[in-house]
């Protein structure tokens, strides 16, 4: 029966086959290749653990390994320090600042940390605005940005929303009766928090914290731009970039990156699994909220304002940098100008045009694949269809850098037939495909959600009226999913625009680079910072507008869907 499913539906089978091949070629093989090389003797091609031994015998790698772990943990710690009071204020008190806190949870996410890194250096660095002022008034400075501190500082400001959002949701899901029954049995104050509230909110916190760890651990752009090279991701990049794709160390590091990423995803899943403490019930409604006393209010507002200014600092700094003329050893730039914006559009418009081209193509590939996979998984009975979903989703856990290295290794030997001297790995099309693979999980989730909302009976009635499978999909399912697909496209587009780790590996010449690459290239030299910042502003605008758009689309869709259900 199982095999006959394939025979009965040749069209679906062909689609599934094509997608499988695509995922195999551009996701599975490159990643497996990376792991393979890490365990292979470079000269004999035999299986070996020698590369790992070499890794641990090299002081620099050992240091990088511990630095990466240290930065990951510290970022989680600092991000928790930001999130916990904010989550506490919104879930425990009737607090006006709640709206601000919610926005605080989104703002950092529209800018990847590497874009703001240099701006943070200008504001918080040894000779940055804050330390200049501190030195002038109080005679001391704070090493916010010294070495690893800088990475931790920048990363935690950017990624704390993952903890904030998850923790707030977890707290809001606690039924008030959970707490009251403990009070009734004689428990109060900190003990109540420790024994009841904290354990109930823990799964949410762990999920958020492991996400932060994963993001920080994999990030390449921020340490590179802050000139912190003794961490794993920069080491992998520098090895491949300086010694070449034959050097096994880059692969060994990649294996570490993948393993750590997979384990933190696994930890997050474990934390949430079976612990759906959605305990709100009839008569419940979240934890008991009370009004703040005046001094509590002052205290809360102070904390919110401090965190808000930290969150806005990268954006603020980037704006100053992009409009400033010269900014060095001074609190603010010397003067303001539009020159940087003029120059990026005049001198390097290709960064923008490339971004639009790559992101649109990647977005299109993603929604086509996403729709097809969602359809195959939800609406057909083909065997192995779940694996299609799992494989596509696995891309979430693979750092961009690793995909980049995998592409180089796998496709470097393949020439594009009609172009002279053009390896496939460094052809711009490879960037597009890599981007689409990286963002496929997000588009796939959006498409799956959209298709789940379309009742299967609508399609069945079309088939009943004589429409073929293909035209049913085209005329019924896709139009009904349109909003969800659009949302998937927009997120995919926005995220592709700021992907750096992979782009750095694959871009072979500046004229092929997208925005993120341009920002990186400009930001490396002091003279290019202004233009880099201007590009950064463009990127932030693109991502911000796209995020807003997808929110609107999804919201409108939901409204339509809910109305459709009630009538």
């Amino acid at each position: 029966m199982a095999i006959s499913e394939f025979r009965k539906h040749p069209g679906q089978t062909a689609a599934m086959l094509l997608i499988s091949l695509f995922l195999l070629a551009f996701l599975v093989i490159p990643v497996v290749q990376v792991v393979f090389v890490a365990f292979m003797d470079a000269t004999t091609g035999q299986f070996t653990l020698l590369n790992f031994k070499d890794f641990f015998n090299t002081a620099l790698f050992r240091e990088s390994f511990w630095n990466s772990i240290y930065v990951g943990c510290m970022s989680v710690l600092v991000a928790s320090a930001f999130s916990m009071p904010l989550a506490y204020f919104t879930s425990r008190f009737e607090f006006r600042g709640a709206v601000i806190i919610q926005s605080l949870g989104i703002i950092p996410l529209i800018m990847p940390p590497f874009v703001g890194a240099v701006a943070m250096l200008m504001l918080f660095g040894r000779n940055g605005s804050v330390n200049l002022l501190l030195d002038q008034w109080f005679g001391f400075t704070i090493p916010f940005m010294e070495g690893l501190n800088g990475v931790i500082f920048v990363q935690s400001i950017h990624y704390f929303p993952f903890i904030l959002i998850n923790l707030s949701a977890a707290l809001q899901n606690i039924d008030r009766a959970m707490e009251e029954s403990a009070q009734n049995l004689g428990c109060s104050g900190l003990r109540l928090f420790r024994r009841i509230v904290l354990p109930l909110a823990m799964p949410g916190y762990v999920a958020g914290a492991s996400l932060v760890f994963l993001k920080v651990f994999d990030d390449l752009g921020t340490p590179l731009l802050l000139n912190v090279n003794n961490m794993l991701a920069p080491q992998a990049y520098l090895r491949i970039a300086s010694i070449g794709i034959k050097d096994p160390m880059g692969y060994v590091i990649s294996v570490f990156l993948v393993v750590i990423a997979l384990s933190s995803m696994w930890l997050a899943m474990l934390a949430l699994k079976g612990k759906e403490y959605a305990t709100v019930q009839k008569g419940g409604g979240g934890l008991a909220k009370r009004r703040m006393r005046p001094w509590e209010k002052v205290f809360a507002w102070m904390i919110v304002l401090v965190i808000m200014s930290l969150v806005l600092a990268p954006h603020f700094g980037l704006t100053l940098l992009s409009f400033g003329t010269i900014w060095s050893y001074s609190v603010l730039p010397d003067a303001f100008t539009f020159d940087h914006f003029v120059s990026i559009f005049a001198e390097t418009p290709e960064y923008m045009t490339n971004t639009v081209l790559y992101s649109s193509l990647a977005g299109i590939i993603d929604v086509v694949l996403g729709t097809a996979i969602a359809y195959i998984v939800l609406r057909t009975k083909l065997i192995g269809r779940q694996w299609l979903d799992y494989t596509a989703m696995a891309a979430v856990a693979i750092p961009g850098l690793v995909i980049g290295i995998g592409y180089l290794r796998t496709f470097f030997g393949y020439q594009v037939p009609w172009l002279e001297n053009q390896s496939f790995a460094t052809w711009w099309v490879a960037i597009v495909i890599a981007l689409s693979i990286r963002r496929l999980p997000y588009a796939l989730r959006a498409c799956t959600a959209a298709l789940q909302q379309v009742s299967a009976s609508l399609e069945e009635s079309a088939e009943n009226l004589g429409a073929s499978k293909f035209s049913t999909v085209r005329k019924i399912a896709v139009p009904l999913m349109a909003g969800g697909i659009l949302a998937g496209f927009v997120t995919s587009f926005a995220n592709a625009a700021v992907e750096l780790g992979m782009t750095l590996m694959l871009v072979s010449k500046n004229s092929d680079g997208p925005l993120s690459y341009g920002i990186y290239v400009y930001m490396q030299s002091a003279a290019g910072r202004g233009s880099g910042a201007a590009l950064g502003i463009v990127a932030v605008l693109v991502v911000g507008i796209c995020t807003l758009l997808s929110h609107i689309v999804i919201e409108r869709r939901q409204r339509k869907y809910v109305m459709g259900r009630t009538d």
Partner: protein, 367 residues
């Protein structure tokens, strides 16, 4: 939070007194001048329709709400200003509120741990409480692995293990299916007898209140309408609300006058004239139950001590043990229950009938 601060549990039961309780949420006046006296060891029910303030009153006693005016006195101690964790009252929540991250045993031990009781004593008391509710075997499970009835028992065990002065139950049976509800309310009643702990039980189900409670306070719109044993409330409702809320009632409006030294009720349209045993003159209503009437063929001879009413069957419902007729008498619709025997057929709609009302069953309510 050390255990000397807790009100020490006494072995003998204590009473609960509420004096002049007034409570508003913003502009909504929820409890209006509540005065109540609950005797030691009593099983007392708050009964009333949804939204009347029962839960609020219970939460007030437990310390989760604070009243704008009035006092809560437990035993001889005023507790109005004590926080919930110092009151030593055991509350069972409507949702049970079992902590999902703890096993059944941990849930039950919680209150004792908070009281810093020695470990071996805790173990002993937890065993005893679990044994009492018949859940010793499930002690290692998590709440999510229990059925609704079992969860309810854990919630109960968790509460009684601390030997609270007063047990507060907020619609503890409302999440159970009908059959289990009947079984659990029996168990609850037995348990309460065994422990002889003063218990307050909130419900909107009159059958639940009637079958479990020693006395009931009927509450409507934040006001205590009447307090009494279930039978007293049914037989001598103090007002129309209580009459209607407990059981099915026929209500006829009119006024009472004195004739030949006897009080007689006349309905406004003069159709119903009934002698009433007690009542003041003036505008009033009478209340009688469907089973207080007999339905007979038209022109039956009057029996002594009854009042005859003539009408027409308007509608009938077969309820199993009885047939309930709706009879049009003048402009009134009167419900009559006729016991059903095997083989009998019901009177068809439109049949002219005579109703005999037992005079001594009529309740007069002066407005």
């Amino acid at each position: 939070m050390n255990n000397t601060e807790h009100v020490t549990a006494t072995t003998s039961a204590v009473g609960v007194r509420l004096e002049g309780i007034d409570l508003s949420f913003g502009k909504t006046h929820v409890l209006k001048g509540i005065d109540l006296q609950i005797e030691p060891g009593e099983f007392f029910a708050f009964l009333g329709p949804s939204g009347c303030g029962k839960t609020t009153l219970l939460r007030l006693i437990a310390g989760f709400e604070s009243a704008q005016a009035g006092r809560v006195i437990i035993g001889n101690q005023e507790v109005s200003h004590l926080p919930p964790w110092r009151r030593n009252l055991g509350m069972v929540f409507q949702s049970y509120a079992l902590w999902p991250h703890m096993t059944v045993r941990k849930n039950v031990a919680f209150g004792l741990e908070e009281r810093r009781i020695p470990r071996n004593e805790i173990n002993k008391r937890v065993e005893r409480a679990l044994d009492l509710v018949g859940l010793l075997d499930l002690a290692r499970r998590r709440p999510s692995q229990l059925s609704g009835g079992q969860q309810q028992r854990v919630a109960l065990a968790r509460t009684i293990v601390i030997e609270p002065q007063v047990l507060l139950l907020d619609e503890p049976l409302s999440n159970l299916d009908a059959k289990l509800r009947v079984q659990m309310r029996r168990e609850l009643r037995q348990l309460q007898r065994k422990l002889s702990v003063t218990t307050i039980f909130v419900t909107h189900d009159q059958e639940e209140a009637n079958t479990t409670a020693d006395r009931i306070a009927v509450i409507n719109d934040g006001i205590v309408q009447q307090i009494g044993s279930p039978m007293e409330l049914y037989d001598r409702p103090a007002n129309l609300f209580v009459a209607n809320f407990l059981g099915v009632a026929n209500v006829v409006e009119g006024s009472m006058t004195e004739e030949n030294g006897k009080v007689v009720f006349h309905s406004s349209d003069g159709v119903v004239v009934v002698p009433v045993t007690a009542g003041n003159q003036g505008p009033s209503s009478i209340v009688f139950r469907p089973q207080n009437l007999t339905i007979l063929p038209q022109d039956t001879k009057p029996q002594p001590g009854t009042t005859q009413l003539t009408g027409k069957v308007e509608h009938k419902e077969f309820l199993g043990g009885v047939v309930r007729y709706r009879v049009a008498v003048g402009g009134h619709f009167i419900l009559v229950d006729a016991p059903h025997q095997r083989g009998e057929t019901a009177m068809p709609e439109g049949t002219p009938v005579t109703l005999c009302l037992n005079d001594d069953q009529v309740i007069g309510l002066t407005h």
